[in-house]
């Protein structure tokens, strides 16, 4: 018999009430555990996906903010050449893009088409695009000016009732294109797009040559920061001194993605934490009830020589046990939820796996126990302050 035992007896005294109190904590901890685990997993996955593409690359996009090109800023052929000729740059891939229609198997659908220089595409397919080829071949220099297309995974397998195989003919904006290859699933807009030679792109879209993105593979041993500085200087000169473009390094992209995920995560966890506050209030209420019901017993314990601190310890341990048990069961339930959701996420993001760092697993149980103890402080103090003579009259 010790304080833990006395606390345990206290909990067993009203098993249903103890159980309901624990549930209040279980819900909160399960929610927090699930969110943190899923988001940490997502951050890991983003990091993994980006690092798979290598770090010796940079991307230049028009506009001053990512995803916000309202001012009509563009990248031109001159920019492409300037980047290409920058010391430290090995290969460059400039991308044009437009919406287009694609017809196959008697159906017409909308897709995104990407105009590229076939030779540059060939050289950078592995380094800049990850080498996701499923079947057939990729574009090469012999494709310049020819009506050929390398199509994305969804275009080949999901868009129409039947698959589109390399060697077949599809109609893009009404013009016949021979499909030379199909790409693997990338979980990006590329899946619903097609790469075609840039001269052909100009013909079928009638658009000026404007790039939405110019990616550069850096030479071995080139310093990323130095190359970024050089490119910025050159492009600024070409743009009349304006920095109406952005040069993004993989580190920045990763940082930004994780920053956004972190912010979203923090917001969600904050909301979940509110339920923990409710749980704490429920514990406090339960402990006050427990103290009131056991007033007489507390009086007797004091009469037989318990000090204030000893009385407090019994109730703090009791509240701590509620918190720890809630934390433990919350994590078990949270783990179940995470595993279920992991399966759901994997359906669209194959490399995803939720994260269960030991800091989260142990820390959350510890934190939950601490919340229990803190919630128990006021009720425990009111028990400790009871006058033994008064208490025994109850």
């Amino acid at each position: 018999m010790d304080y833990g035992f006395l606390a345990w007896r206290g909990l067993r005294h009203q098993p249903l009430r103890s159980f309901l109190t624990i549930i209040a904590i279980v819900v909160a901890i399960a929610a927090i555990f699930t969110l943190v685990s899923l988001i940490l997993g997502l951050q890991e996955t983003v990091r993994g996906e980006l690092s798979k593409l290598g770090t010796n690359r940079i991307t230049v996009i028009p506009g001053t903010m990512v995803g916000m090109n309202l001012g009509g800023d563009v990248l031109t052929e001159e920019d492409r050449k300037a980047i290409e000729n920058t010391p430290g740059v090995k290969n460059v891939l400039a991308l044009q893009t437009d919406h287009a229609t694609i017809s196959a198997w008697g159906e017409e659908k909308g897709i995104t088409i990407f105009g590229v220089d076939p030779d540059a595409f060939n050289k950078t397919f592995q380094s800049l695009l990850g080498g996701y080829l499923e079947s057939g071949r990729i574009l090469d220099r012999t494709d310049r000016g020819r009506y050929v297309a390398l199509i994305g995974y969804s275009v080949a397998h999901d868009l129409f009732g039947k698959d589109i195989l390399p060697g077949s003919t599809v109609y893009i904006n009404g013009k016949p294109f021979r499909v030379v290859g199909v790409m693997k699933k990338t979980n990006s807009p590329l899946d619903a797009g097609a790469y075609i030679p840039e001269s052909v792109f100009q013909e079928i879209t009638g658009r000026e040559r404007e790039y939405v993105r110019i990616s550069a593979e850096l030479a071995e041993g080139a310093n990323v920061d130095d190359v970024v500085e050089r490119i910025k200087r050159r492009l600024k000169a070409l743009h009349g001194g304006l920095e109406n473009f952005r040069v993004i390094t993989p580190e920045q992209a990763m940082e930004r993605a994780n920053q956004i995920l972190g912010m979203v995560g923090a917001l969600l966890v904050t909301i979940a934490a509110i339920s923990l506050v409710i749980g704490a209030v429920v514990i406090m209420n339960t402990m006050y009830m427990s103290v009131t019901e056991r007033t007489r017993e507390i009086g007797v314990m004091k009469a037989v020589g318990a000090t204030k601190w000893q009385i407090m310890a019994i109730f703090l341990v009791e509240a701590g046990i509620i918190g720890a048990a809630g934390g433990l069961f919350g994590e078990i339930i949270g783990f179940g939820i995470v595993k279920t959701l992991e399966g759901v996420i994997r359906a669209s993001l194959e490399s995803y796996s939720a994260a269960f760092p030991s800091l989260l697993v142990l820390g959350l149980v510890g934190f939950s126990a601490l919340v229990g103890v803190i919630s128990g402080i006021l009720p425990a103090r009111s028990a400790a302050e009871l006058d033994p003579v008064e208490a025994m009259r109850q």
Partner: protein, 226 residues
Amino acid sequence: MGIISVRDVWKIYGEGDAATYALRGVSLDIEQGDFVAIIGPSGSGKSTLMHIIGLLDTPTKGKVLLKGKDVSTLSDDERAIMRRKTVGFVFQQYNLSPSLNALENVELPMLFAGVPKREREKRAKELLEMVGLGHRLYHYPNQLSGGQQQRVAIARALANDPEIILGDEPTGNLDTKTGEKILKIFKDLNKRGKTIVIVTHDPEIAEEAEKIVKIRDGKIEGVIEK
């Protein structure tokens, strides 16, 4: 000077016109090994006096010396620590913890006193055997008769081997025969050197004591020594 010395003790509840006088200048000396009965009608202040002697309560005025030490100015915790070593209580309502079995109830004062687990269990068993409950160690209070519960309470009072045992109407809830048995235990303890103070309103029980202190309206009316 005795083991317990009460010097002009007053206990006043409330203030001004609403003030209630539970004790009005009580002085009393109890020697080591005494068997004292404090007798008086309800509301006479006898329980208050016992609470003050037993360090459960403090006097408004006056002094209480326990083994020569002034205990009337100690803090709550200091009194709790002194109480556990010096005094054992036996109450009319038994006041056992309903969620603890007989053995655990007896262990409780030793737990607070910091006695190691093994020693606690050994001593609790011995004490329960001594009061004739060796076969009821793991019974809970609601599984025991009134007399049995009171014997557990006596074992608990003896847990830390205090010099003084205080009984607040210890036979009040028991039938005559059972009450006699409980009283016999008190007598045996007295023979072994324990100082016993019993509060009662029952003259027959008081007759068993060596010294009877009569109290009424918060004042000692008289002390009868046999």
